[in-house]
């Protein structure tokens, strides 16, 4: 089943703390009044011009195996294989906050407004990541997969965790997110830039726990694998 989802920009505005983190401002540090003013302006820009939307499609384990194999350039061993093998349900997804945000960022740079441009970029990046969680939460709610029952749906994307970025090609061929205006160039770069794609894996929360000790983890700058599972800790009541 393929589903198109659209949101109001306000429903996808990321947490301010995450935006500040992307600007290098650590948790526990209060930004100055003038930095807060830029954040507020960036949020206003996002709310004015973002067009968040997504396309989601269920996929069988077999079909996903072919998508994941892609052009055969994945790392020999990845955590994604183990996650997917233990998942109850899989779905391909692609989501975007729209092209107008990227266009506005470029315009702001051209107008000598680098602080606001970079802040809008941070808001848009955090929002795009947020869309993955919103899709996962919506699907979990539909499947009655409450976190209180110890279940969790998380997304994994080509370009991370050993899944080669060229995997985008097989994913796009299968999902066809051109339907929501997201395309892929020859270098596997999505357009609009502030877009995300990947696979959602639903199952017991424990399937998403893995230590970042793979060969490719050394070069990873995000290491969201740890924080994402910590955000949804397995409750004591989990069955």
């Amino acid at each position: 089943m393929k589903q198109r989802i659209e949101w109001r920009p306000a429903d996808t505005l990321p947490e301010r703390r995450e935006v500040l983190r992307l600007q290098g401002i650590p948790a526990g540090v209060d930004p100055s009044r003038r930095v807060l003013s830029i954040v507020e302006s960036a949020e206003a820009v996002y709310l004015e011009i973002a067009e968040p939307r997504a396309l989601v499609a269920d996929i069988s384990m077999e079909a996903f195996a072919a998508v994941y194999r892609g052009e055969g350039r994945n790392a020999p061993v990845t955590p994604i294989e183990a996650v997917v093998l233990r998942a109850d349900a899989l779905a391909l997804f692609a989501a975007t906050v729209g092209a107008r945000v990227t266009d506005r960022i470029r315009t702001l740079f051209a107008e000598n407004e680098p602080a606001l441009a970079v802040m809008v970029d941070a808001v848009a990046s955090a929002a795009a990541d947020c869309l993955t969680h919103l899709i996962a939460d919506r699907r979990a709610a539909l499947a009655d997969d409450a976190a209180g029952r110890g279940r969790l749906t998380l997304g994994y994307s080509p370009g991370y965790c050993g899944w080669h970025v060229s995997g985008q090609r097989a994913l796009f061929a299968c999902l066809q997110p051109e339907a929501i205006g997201v395309t892929l160039n020859a270098s596997c770069l999505m357009d609009p830039l502030k877009s995300v794609s990947g696979v959602l894996a639903a199952g017991p929360a424990d399937i998403h726990r893995f230590a970042p000790g793979y060969e490719f983890c050394a070069d990873c700058r995000t290491k969201t694998c740890i924080g994402r599972v910590q955000r949804w800790p397995i409750p004591a009541s989990a069955g």
Binding site: S32, N112, P114, A117, G159, L193
Partner: protein, 213 residues
Amino acid sequence: MSILSDIAASLQRGEDEEVASLVRQALDDGQDAVAILHGGLIAGMGVVGEQFREREIFLPDVLLAARAMYAGLALLKPLLAKDGVPTAGTVVIGSVRGDLHDIGKNLVGIMLAGAGFDVVDLGSDVAPERFVDAACDRGASVIGLSALLTTTMPVMKDVVELVRARGLQDRIKVIVGGAAVSDAWARQIGADAYGYDAASAVERVRALARTPA
């Protein structure tokens, strides 16, 4: 406090209109454009850079200061060009062919300008020949390459090899950076330097620009 100190202080506070006003006043007072550039703008950005390295301020503060710097630089550039004043060096930057990400590259360009470099920004999706041709045309001593995808990183090697093929490796140095890039990758392709982030890239470029040809 001298007017140059006032310019530097206003720049650090990100007050672009005040910086422009003070630069105009300094010029009207007969101050030399080079002195205003170095004693006011670059001095101010130097303090900002130090505070950023010490994590006393953060990226948004640096960018507000950069905006103020550009406001002052816009008034000085015609005078500096007229007098043929040399800069810290000329750097050609861009995102390599196939890559459209440009935020990191833009940050590097801003910080290089703040450090007194003349920056030639070729934008994104830039072919190897354009980098090298631009460096030759503009007398650049450094080419800065940005790539955020493993699929676009290989183009960096093409640029390094083109510099060598044209016998320019002593005159033009290549620095690489971007989310997908690492120090190991830089060494593997024969690049001269790797910049982990914008701040470290500026330090590496400073060192490269000082390297005798």
